[in-house]
């Protein structure tokens, strides 16, 4: 891969990963409104918006982050399994994406309940808030790893290095 193309992939990876993080913060705001607002239309709208956001913003950004990250590490000097920080980032990304894709079913169901019921006690659930907080922690951890790049070669990396 040429240096120019490598920089392009790196730019794309940073952009979509930062976008994913930002989308989670926006999702978190909706999740808080869902559990804390006293206004019934706001609460119901929050669950409908979370469903749309999950399918059309979070999932595409997560997948884009995963794909660009894979290309970046495989084509770049770091490799995918040579350094512990890259392996940890990969595990975080795969785990978060997998949970997110599965969680879209829950979001669709919550949105359906929000459209069909008037009782706020039935609509409200802390589940999106908990999932968003966990996702935020995971992505912040991945960001810290990407910035600090802590030392440490995996056994595979040590063999390659020798």
């Amino acid at each position: 891969m040429t240096p120019g193309l490598r920089k392009f992939v790196l730019t794309a990876h940073i952009s979509v990963s930062a976008g994913w993080l930002g989308a989670i913060v926006a999702f978190l705001a909706l999740a808080v409104a869902g559990v804390a607002s006293d206004d019934a239309p706001t609460v119901r709208a929050a669950y409908l918006a979370m469903d749309v956001m999950g399918s059309y913003a979070l999932v595409p950004l997560a997948l884009a982050s995963l794909v660009t990250g894979l290309i970046q590490s495989l084509a770049g000097p770091w490799g995918l399994f040579r350094h512990y920080w890259v392996v940890f980032k990969l595990l975080i990304n795969v785990f978060a994406t997998l949970v997110l894709v599965l969680y879209t079913q829950t979001l669709a169901q919550l949105a359906e309940i929000a459209t069909q019921t008037t009782s706020l006690s039935v609509v409200r659930t802390p589940s999106p808030l908990l999932h968003a907080c966990a996702a935020l922690l995971l992505l912040l951890a991945a960001t810290v790893l990407a910035v600090y790049k802590p030392r440490g070669l995996t056994p595979y990396g040590r063999r390659k290095h020798a």
Binding site: Y84, Q109, Q116, T117, T125, S127, R151, L153
Partner: protein, 54 residues
């Protein structure tokens, strides 16, 4: 050169979180996912719930 300390600590934290999650899941009756948000696990509105006006 062995495994770095930050890897051991992070791995330990991940395992502890995973174990706590599994324990909570077991104590909570093993329900997690879309099914837990509606009684009986069906996708329709919960029984006895008033439908919203169009």
């Amino acid at each position: 050169m062995g495994t770095p300390r930050w890897v051991k600590i992070s791995g330990l934290v991940a395992v502890v979180v995973l174990v706590v999650f599994v324990v909570v899941l077991i104590v909570g009756g093993g329900e997690h996912g879309p099914g837990r948000h509606s009684p009986g696990g069906h996708t329709g509105p919960p029984p006895g719930v008033t439908h919203a006006q169009p």
